[in-house]
Symmetry: C2
Subunit: 399 residues, 2 copies
């Protein structure tokens, strides 16, 4: 009844859990209770309604409310048991050989307060601490299995971007074009949902806007915002008709088997002004500068500083990643099961790059009233620097 051909393999899950167990041991924690969907998927292979207990030593226990059969068919974990309510947690853990934890980690950055307060009651003797940073550290370094999926997501994204010139026509609305591009993504297996960790972060595929719309600021931690369809969504495509000679920004994520590839390309009907073309070229230069410098061991914040410096040298200091008062202080972010993964190539970030990290690097120039140009590619951190997953040309695609 259930599909199993894209299940996460058992050795993959085992290695992930071992890496996390090392952290738990180092932090002297008895274990951690995982509930959030991307974390749950990462460590168990299923997003069924479940609680996953990972002890510092020994076998994890996946306690499933719904659907138990589906979780059992998707997860390679050994111990998968039913659970009706969280009140049963201490008993189930005991039956599976785990004493009541002395210190237990929780995903406090995403777990709702009411659930946290309930866990306090269920585990009155247990100190509850935040392990979201530890989890995000483990998830930041991707395995070959994960890299393979992201590479395939980028390949499918390339196919979708190749279709864009055939779909654009003067006078069609941004959201009309968005729907056509999204249909191309869907038939290739895009799962639709783009998950973000930050509470209140939300995104529908990405950003697609033309001309001045793209430069409208929003709530999102992103250089672009967009007029959107209404204040209820307040970002990305709206009903504005696409015109000639304006940059059409397509910053669209492809999500395959949960994993994200993030890329931006600029399209234009009948070309762009020389100044916009030059600004786009400058962003390709910033991209190259970072790609050449980034190595395992480089601090993420250094790369941000380098990008700002290079953009200023090229004459785009005032418009790089936003204008004064609307500037975003980053130039890239990790991607994986979530769009906002470690590391953040942001001001002051001390986290060092490691081989296997996957980073969306997105130097962009924002011209209020005119539009946005620039580039985004998803890159693998290797010993020799950043390697892009994308093949679609970085230049402005004139239609």
């Amino acid at each position: 009844m259930f599909l199993t051909d894209s299940n996460i393999p058992e050795p993959e899950i085992r290695q992930r859990i071992e890496r996390f167990q090392n952290d738990l041991t180092r932090k002297a924690l008895s274990g951690a209770l995982i509930l959030q969907k991307p974390d749950l998927y990462y460590f168990s292979g299923t997003i069924q309604d479940a609680h996953l207990y990972i002890p510092a030593q020994g076998n994890p226990v996946l306690m499933v409310r719904k659907s138990l059969e589906r979780a059992a068919s998707e997860s390679p974990l050994e111990r998968i048991v039913p659970m009706d309510s969280p009140g049963q947690l201490p008993d189930i853990l005991k039956k599976n050989g785990h004493p009541v934890p002395r210190n237990m980690g929780l995903e406090l950055d995403v777990l709702p307060a009411s659930r946290y307060l309930k866990f306090q009651k269920i585990f009155p003797e247990t100190a509850l601490t935040d392990v979201s940073h530890l989890i995000r550290r483990v998830r930041a370094v991707k395995s070959d299995y994960e890299i393979g999926i992201i590479r395939e997501a980028a390949r499918l994204a390339d196919q979708v971007f190749e279709r864009v010139p055939e779909l654009i026509a003067e006078g069609m609305t941004e959201v009309g074009l968005a729907g056509l591009i999204e249909a191309e993504a869907r038939k290739r297996g895009h799962q639709g949902l783009v998950r973000m960790r930050l509470w209140g972060g939300e995104l529908f595929y990405g950003h697609l806007m033309a001309g001045p719309s793209a430069a409208v600021p929003s709530f999102l931690a992103s250089p672009t915002g967009g007029s959107g369809l209404s204040p209820a969504i307040a970002q990305s495509a709206g009903f504005r008709p696409i015109r000639k000679n304006e940059p059409i920004l397509v910053d669209y994520v492809f999500v395959l088997n949960g994993y994200i590839s993030d890329q931006t390309r600029i399209f234009a009907l009948d070309g762009l002004s020389d100044s916009l073309m030059a600004a786009h070229e400058a962003m390709l230069d910033v991209q190259k500068t970072i790609m050449r410098t980034a190595r395992p061991g480089t601090r993420a914040g250094e790369l941000y500083g380098l990008a700002v410096e290079r953009a200023a040298e090229l004459g785009y200091g005032d418009n790089f990643m936003g204008t004064e008062g609307h500037r975003i202080r980053f130039v890239g972010h990790g991607v994986g099961l979530e769009l906002d993964e470690y590391p953040f190539l942001a001001r002051g970030q001390q986290m060092e790059l490691e081989a296997g990290m996957v980073i969306a690097l997105e130097p962009k120039v924002i011209f209020p009233g005119k539009g946005v140009v620039g580039i985004e590619n998803t890159h693998l951190v290797t010993r020799d620097g950043l390697v892009s997953f994308s093949r679609f040309p970085d230049t402005v695609r004139v239609v």
Copy 2:
């Protein structure tokens, strides 16, 4: 720069806040701090990155991190001020005439634990309590303004459903068809994102599956699940080709200006077996039975009981809303800015219907190995019973 033609009108926001202030006063709370996007939008008219303080008496204060200008152009509130970090909250409130609250309400069902713990530090003298139930009660009863938007969303959904017969072809994949239908929705202004309140609840447009796929159970509190594209998404459309003589379930939400209309129709290439057709008719009977009985004052749980009883009388007791072990104990749910609003037409629910509530009613029969038939419409609770917003025929549409 910002669109303002779909801003929420000032009297609308004022009335919402007054209703909530009455609740705060009745519960002897000093005020409430609102952060969650749908709640923030409901009470302020903007989803910009902001904290909204609603005192039991007096003027609310909207404290905005990003973008202040956009929030000011979208929200009709009088006091809109900048805020860099939550640590400034007590000072900003004081400057706006509000003493440090003695008791403050928070959205503890959705607020992440780490933010709750931070508020405990920022307001050490304040008792923090959960007001999510109060907020959901206020939001459950819709104004004429809200009803007008939902009516329009349902009208657009009718247009999209009218296109489905032209889009379906034998052999195309579920997800391929999904993309085409989604493109039709997008060009009509569907915002894409479907918001759910329950943590871990997630949905991409809704459920589109054909034949046995539709009957595959999932983590979601829904009678249908779906094979999905992978365990990372675990619901709705997959790569299975659509075949003749199987029920094609299109349970798709339309979201206009934040507001949801939810409807399900069954399509079939070349017709369905008599037994599936009869089961579908039985669900229309269950729908009619509930529509006739529901009135302001009827308890939500009673309607669920009535649905179960009628389904059993008609011979579908074993398959109504799922089979043994996979059965969902509801037959409908409120909709508005979120898909899972009050009231829940669920087992034991004591909440009474009120005029102005908007309910998606979805009696369905699940046949494992065969598929799903049934109906869903979004209805307004009036003094004379339920009135559906949909015009698209309820019967199986044979293509």
